[in-house]
Symmetry: C2
Subunit: 314 residues, 2 copies
């Protein structure tokens, strides 16, 4: 299919680079300040080289990508809160042209799920967003397979940065600030880690799941969120004496969304280590399903995006 | 949709009982010696009561179910090897009538995959078989989402009975025969446990995966299979001294299918305990995905069957 890719960060770049391997053509690629458009297929390597050397992917304005010739808009710009702009506007523009949208950007489906679904109802286009929850892990597709009404609760470790910090604190007996600095050196945590360590990112994923499972009116404001900044290493040590550890767990139970540090048994499925994520789905007839894998990363998230595009194509 | 359910064991009975909850109607239900057919919907509770008291589900011959008015044939008769009959004949009959087929019976897609696909090509019907690999776990749908060409290897614990026996042997330090007898008392192992403990069941699941990933010409004969009957508890004790344990692991790597006892780290994802199953998918761009859950059981397997029916319906 013909793809317009908005966002040229790790995810957008991976989608653009891998598209030919999945049988697709990138007809437009944009970052926040520029775009390159070619109905016969953008020279992706050249565009990404130019981004690295000159800070732009091409000579056109970002809007040129929105009006390009494409079948699927891949929205991989950074997640924003509140009105979820400019991501929401991109979704709207594509749906109004009866094009499909595949999201990696969590904003539109976390903060304005009802609006997105309303635009979708009036469009020939379909909106899919597997990549927004748990990167490569097939969370939303499994919920769709089971049917939302047969999923009674969802919980999991949904942020790799926070999980890396917690598992290093537990393993090394080091305080939060020390481990965070190490994670920043390794590129696992960003310079401003708030989004990850304060639980916002995990909460957005849970809000998306709650919207899929329920009436679609949940936003980040409805979530109860606590991060890991204030967790002393002594709490992890106490937990260990009891055969347990602490993980930043996100939970969806009906419309209720909670994220916070929770005690879990040290050898339990939820006690994944490092940047790994896990999601547990409680089902009506099939017990608990666990899905674990890489919850972030360019090619990993791109895999989920290509799975969505495959669904649109099939 | 209108379902004809062949097989009235744990899986067939669960499908028939749960069908209304998923919006479907059972128009025929058969066991090996009888059938009940009603275009307006079979009285499932009555048929299953009758099976319990009289040994038959109804007054008609099993063939009556095959010629009934249905949209999807649910094949949940016992798995057979070699020519995979009578399951294969059921699949053929449905496809020749341009009906869809959803399999829980592993025989047709493990032993005669090429034949099934050939019949499907000539039919308006589609064959789906998520339930044949790992019960409730979404293994085949995840492979389909990622596209077979982006899965490089698959391995896992695919038989709950064998895993129960191994994890009890390890935990209690008891020999195979003792734990097997206990498993039989609990209903976890059958009176003749060969299919499970000799690795046949796990191998069939791996053969199905190999067929999906490859050219579709693999059968049980191509698999290298070793069971757990001869495994002494001393081997598990030696493993534990080294921080490891032993699991019956099935592996698919290209066309090669191997099943046998393997050493795995005690805290590794593969070291699931009890009857739980796990599958690991190695992907080209998204690392390793783990999916674990209940690999068998009536309602669990029925959940996978309803997921397949939902795909046909969507």
């Amino acid at each position: 299919m013909k793809l317009a890719v908005l966002g040229a960060g790790a995810v957008g770049a991976s989608v653009a680079e891998l598209a030919p391997e999945y049988g697709h053509t990138v007809t437009a690629l944009a970052d926040s300040s520029s775009a390159v458009v070619d109905p016969d297929g953008v020279d992706v390597a050249n565009a990404l080289d130019r981004k690295e050397s000159e800070g732009v992917v091409g000579d056109e304005s970002p809007d040129a990508a929105l009006s390009a010739n494409y079948e699927v808009l891949v929205e991989a710009t950074p997640t924003t809160l509140g009105d979820a702009e400019p991501g929401f506007g991109h979704v709207k523009a594509a749906l109004e042209r009866d094009r499909h949208v595949v999201l990696a950007n969590k904003g539109p489906v976390a903060e304005r799920y009802g609006d997105v679904r309303e635009l979708e109802r009036e469009s020939e286009g379909t909106v899919l967003f597997e990549a927004t929850v748990g990167g490569a892990m097939p969370v939303l597709s499994t919920i769709a397979d089971f049917d939302a009404e047969h999923i009674t609760a969802v919980r999991g470790v949904l942020n790799g940065t926070a999980n890396f910090v917690l598992s290093r604190m537990a393993a090394e007996g080091l305080e939060y600030e020390h481990v965070l600095a190490e994670a920043q050196d390794l590129g696992v945590a960003e310079a401003d880690p708030s989004f990850d360590v304060d639980g916002t990112d995990a909460a957005l994923k849970c809000v998306i799941v709650a919207n899929v499972l329920g009436d679609g009116e949940v936003t980040l404001e409805d979530a109860t969120v606590e991060g890991i900044r204030d967790l002393p290493v002594s709490a992890l040590e106490l937990a260990r004496e009891d055969g347990r550890t602490i993980r930043l767990i996100g939970e969806v139970d009906g419309d209720a969304v909670r994220v916070g540090p929770r005690l879990v048994p040290e050898n339990a499925a939820l006690a994944v280590t490092g940047t790994r994520n896990i999601v547990q789905l409680e089902t009506t007839h099939a017990g608990v399903l666990n899905i674990s894998g890489r919850g972030a990363g360019g090619p990993e998230t791109a895999s989920a995006i290509f799975a969505d595009i495959g669904r649109l194509d099939g």
